[in-house]
Amino acid sequence: MSNVNISKLKAIVGDNNVIDSPSEMAKYLKGKGKPAVVVLPGNTSEVSSIVKLANEQNVKIAVGGTVAGTKGLNGGIAMVMSRMNRILEMDHLNLVAHVEPGLLHKEFLLKVGEAGLNFPPEPYEVETSSIGGCFAIGDSDSKSFEYGPTRTFLLGFEMVLPTGEILEIGNKCIKNVSGLDFIHFAVGSQGTFGIFTKLLVKLLPVQEAKRAVIGTFTSIHKANATFNTLIKRNVQPTRMNLLNASLAKNAISGTEGQLVIIDLQGFKESGKNIANEIAAVLTLGGGTDVKIIEDEAEYDQVINGWLKVRAELNGKPEQTLEFLVGPAKMPQALTQLEALTGDLGAYPGVVVEGLLGYVCLALPEGTDKLALAAKVNKLAMSLGGNIKGLLGHKLKAEAYNDAEMWQQTIGLLQELRQQFDPKGILSPGVSLEA
């Protein structure tokens, strides 16, 4: 039985913005949990009232931009931010924008582009990701070597805390060390510290020149070896990515073999020479169909293909394994990995983001992920890396034989969450265990 008081929710957001028939709720939900209701707030004060109501009635809330996860949300409230989707301000002088969290990432990219500006973080899922979600997840992506990870682009926000209190922090200054850095600490907290209701986002001038160099390889190892050559030649493009054969054809249809995509943004005059240098390295490294792309439409097609593949993997975290090694150690990593996985070219999915030393594996069905993770982590640690995120942290502590470090870290994370959300109202699907 749920304690959710539907009539009180309707009084807060209006009848039309409370949905409790399961068939209508479905399009706002993902996962197997059964929340009692979907609610679509229209402003900060409504969000705050809903959270206060949830506190009174001890009901859990999960938040999403267009779709909310339902894990752990049985009988709870799914809050969908899609009505709060305005760009409140685009400030060219200070290179910042004030936006609402339900604004779609792709919409924002469009508007930012029209304004002659640049917001580098890649959308997590091309169609459905919101700006609120972008910062709640707060990841890195294949452009982070040049631009920095997602958190770099948040200067401030308004947030409804798990108690319903409204917190505002930050300003348009690109340098700000006042107080503790809650601004960047909140990035990646996945809604456990609060619900973003406004975001003050840092922008950059638009990159006038864009070029890509692509090439295909029969061997994943040969493809990857070209990245090492480029690192040794001191060439750092914007993206330096590799998709194995299984994924390559999803990015650019008809692709045979492993696909290398190298992106050059902003090298206005130098780009021609760099692109030629990269194309030569790819060709000498055994690449075929090596091509420099300068046509805008074709460039967009390649990058969108990349984003699509990336988003598909982002959408199924339970079926992927992500790890990092030192970027220059990737050849050893892939060779050693193959001993665990078999032929990587034929594997369901392998993504390499060469500048970051990042690998994402799409696992074959029936894989014992944790068992594989332990082995891969050992391999990665010997090459200056580890499995990504919390799981990696646990495996690292195990490898150090340091149970105390793991306990301390977990204890600290839980204490922080408890301090902000004493009743455990927000984001029940987010686990701080690994």
């Binding site: 910042v96 107080g179 001038p205 005059e269 105390e404 301090q419």
Partner: protein, 458 residues
Amino acid sequence: MLSQTVVNRLKEIVGEKNVVTDKVGLLTYGYDGTLLSGEALGVVSPHTTEEVVEIVKLMNEHNIKLVPRGAGTNESGGTIPTQDSVVISFTKMTKIHEIDTENFVAVVEPGVINFDLQVELEKRNCYFPPDPSSYKASTIGGNVGECSGGPKCFKYGVTRDYILGLEVVLPNGKVIQTGGRNFQSEPAYDLTRIIVGAEGTLGLVTKVFVRIIPLPRAKKTMLAIYDKVEDASQTVADIVAAGIIPTTLELMDNLLINTTEDFSHAGLPRDAGAVLIIEVDGYPEDMDPQVKTISEICNKIAKEFKIAQSAAEVDQIWTSRRCAFGSVARVRPSYGVNDITVPRSNFPKAIQGVLKVAKEYGVTIGVVAHAGDGNLHPLVLFDQRNKEEVETVHAAEKALCMMALDLDGTVSGEHGIGLVKKKYLDSEFTPAAMGAFRKIKRSFDPSNRFNPGKVFEL
């Protein structure tokens, strides 16, 4: 006073020579870059993480608080001993464990001096972008504590953007590792980010994984000279509007032009209202078009514009900027340095605000600024021996901070809060934000043992 038992135990942990308890010795650890001072119960200098752990545990047993310290160059009172504390000095932890240029990471101990790291990196054609003006003396641990800035932030960001991971001794004496050697190793929450800039209030950093990047292939340094400060501000706005992100946009006003000229004889015209040092970097082919755009912008309003043609000319331009703080001692014996920051668009108003404060309080204020960042360093000149004047200076500094907040800015862009600006925090932050800071502090340090009373009261 520390009991003999505690002193003996400390000496067992770090060695006889690394514990200071005599009056004269303590005095030297009682200062930083501000006018404040305090006296510690003792000073202890560990060499290893294990020694830090032992010290923390010992202090906890005796309920004594700890104040971390690097080179003590900070401008906020962050390392001043308060509340019957022992100072833990990291100047003996100076190992550079590893420099791995191909994997863009270096691993260092907190006592490594920023400059020493830069020298090692430069040999390998790499660098660590955050280089606060104190970099010849300040330590990486201190840079992490304050989240230091410097002149390159407009393009490259601040210290927090170059810290990949930390080894941290928590207030309970346990050791954790945050982050790692890449962007994606944080355990759910970005613990590295909350510790960077926390001024040692959350944990003691014993190892730092820093991001290093290759040196730019090319660099161009330019100097523009203006009749009025406002004209320099206009150049900054125009450069940004042209889509150029220079590494540096450093401004000095007339007072600073004259004081630095007394010392450096760089040939700056003494009647100029302001100078702007502009630097761009990147691939050689990309330099000329940017320099061309910038020179067009500058030539519209600057009274003089030049492009450095040699390394010697670059040095000459930078000499004035580097000696700016010290040079004002020729005018008055003391100066108070501020680091108020405003949105770039409010920079001209902030300059006017500084002039207004100077006039209202009858004090001399020179301005050095990272203009691209909206970050100003008004230097308030005075004589420390004149008590009355010191009071006036404090009042003027408060007025500067309030002016920055009125212009939607912050009281601190790169120096931190420490003791000096603690009193303004309630003006900058709402009660909810202050509440969030306290929740974070309580999670790490419920007994308030690490750098107590700094930044805010628990």
